[in-house]
């Protein structure tokens, strides 16, 4: 279902997957489609989010303990939304987090209310865990398109006669601007490359 949602999304914004073109998916293009902006905030916490939202003139309810540390935060005021990610994370992690928040906006907008706060320490209940898994799957599917993974594996195999997963993960991680760990996990799931 997530794969179909993303395929539709790509079609809507005209982002056709072309294996001949190299480089990362332009994630930044997807945010305006959902009236969404993204901000990287150092030491992300409820307090920092509130500060930012008030500064922008938003009327907000009590969001809880200002000291509560966050991994991400998604806020909607009417149809416009803001995704907050932690600026202290490495670039690839920040990008994945942004895609993850976009995933929530696409998949869970109806069920999430005005905001969705994600804690650093995962103590989510079953429903939340399901949502988190879906948002992660969305981010992985969007940033690491299956077609590209398979095509690059094919290229490696035809050019060099081998496609070790570790090597492919390294190359693709830098091309697609994701972490090596995320890439490795994705290739395992897709069963692309050999051990």
């Amino acid at each position: 279902m997530i794969a179909e949602t993303i395929a539709q999304l790509r079609q809507d914004i005209g982002d056709v997957i072309d294996p001949a073109r190299r480089g990362p998916v332009v994630l930044d293009r997807y945010f305006p489609e959902f009236n969404l902006r993204h901000f990287a905030v150092p030491q992300l916490s409820i307090g920092r989010v509130v500060e930012h939202l008030l500064r922008e003139g938003n009327a907000i309810d009590d969001l809880g303990d200002p000291a509560r540390k966050l991994a991400g935060f998604l806020f909607f005021a009417g149809r416009a939304g803001t995704a907050f990610i932690n600026a202290d994370e490495p670039l690839t992690r920040r990008r994945f987090s942004a895609a993850h928040e976009l995933g929530h906006a696409v998949l869970h907008r109806q069920s999430m209310g005005n905001y969705l706060a994600e804690d650093l320490i995962d103590d989510a209940d079953e429903a939340e865990s399901q949502r988190e898994r879906e948002a992660n799957a969305f981010a992985a599917e969007l940033l690491m398109p299956e077609e590209i993974c398979r095509e690059r594996a094919k290229e490696l195999k035809s050019q060099y006669g081998a496609c070790p997963r570790g090597v492919l993960a390294y190359r693709l991680a830098s091309e697609l601007l994701v972490s090596k760990q995320a890439m490795d996990y994705r290739l395992r799931k897709l069963e692309v490359g050999h051990a």
């Binding site: 073109r21 190299r22 480089g23 990362p24 332009v26 994630l27 930044d28 990287a40 490495p90 670039l91 690839t92 920040r94 990008r95 942004a98 490696l156 060099y160 006669g161 081998a162 496609c163 070790p164 570790g166 090597v167 390294y170 190359r171 830098s174 091309e175 601007l177 972490s179 090596k180 051990a195």
Partner: protein, 365 residues
Amino acid sequence: MRDGTAADRFFRTYQAQFVGATPVQPFVPPPDADDESTEEATPQIDRTVEMPEAYWKAIALTEQPANENEIPKRFIDGSQKGEPVLCIRSPQGYPIPMVLSEVGAVALESVGRTFERKFVALERVLTFYADPFPWEEVEALSLDLLNRPELKLRILPAAPPDFSKHSPFDYEAMRSQAHNRAQREMEMMERLALASAKDVPTLVDGPIHRVTSKPGAKLLVGVVKTHPTNYLHDQGWRTLLNLKPGQRTPVFRYESGGTGGGNLPVATWYLKLAGGPRLAPNWGYVRVEVPWGQFVERGKDFGFIDRLSRWLIDARCRASSYARMPVSLEPIVRAEEALKPLFTPTGLLANRLHRTAGLTEMEWE
């Protein structure tokens, strides 16, 4: 003329300046772990494999020739050629070098008395510590540089230096991290070279864990020229420093506790390739590695170690014009020679990048 591309905007926003291969400053930080390394646990060394530690002594090699399955047929070498070509300033003001490199690997196979090139891979990369920059700008830059036919540059985001040891304003620390990341890319190409013919007995320039964590059944030999790690006890050092050409130390077993050694146990020993009155005692020897599993498969046969060592001595480089001759093997020197001419001169690539960035010497001087 500025063309308003993503690369142009990025370089302009972050005040790109020309830099070159300036001499390394007096304080050079040690390479920090990159993003793929984890904390090293205590390595495990067993120096009693061949004889008790206290009785270590030099072992003279047999003249017996190696069997067909005891010598490598394929030789893998990797290389990285690059230098900082631009320095950008992060939003916090950190000076961040962008290192433009070509990285590659080659595999030669011995066919009769000659070597044939069986594998070659070469790529251009631009390495820098990218974390301080907005991801959407790096995303756009990456797409731009990779799809320009004259450049085809893949961005490699380098890991940060250890900020508990280095200031983020330390240019050398940033440069070192970029260099390490490009080096890692070169190792990936060496891995690919090995994977492309795993059933051929192979020798690699460097430690084995760099090219595989799961060696196949066929012979794999690593020859290490540099020795930053201390594996020896005092008697081991005395033995090593007294080795004469054609002698080796006893075999010991080494297993790294972390990813640095890839948790791949090896049978290893030092072998003196060259010596003479004008060579310092810490020069002229290499450390040889064979996967421990392969050594056990061969019944922990020290005769095999001797015969392989003898073959290595015979294969040593004899060209006195070659600076690293005392620690080099002829097939690896040949591999290097096969790879180097394929590199594009860095100055040429740097010019193309500068043009892409809309930079000209006059504009920025």
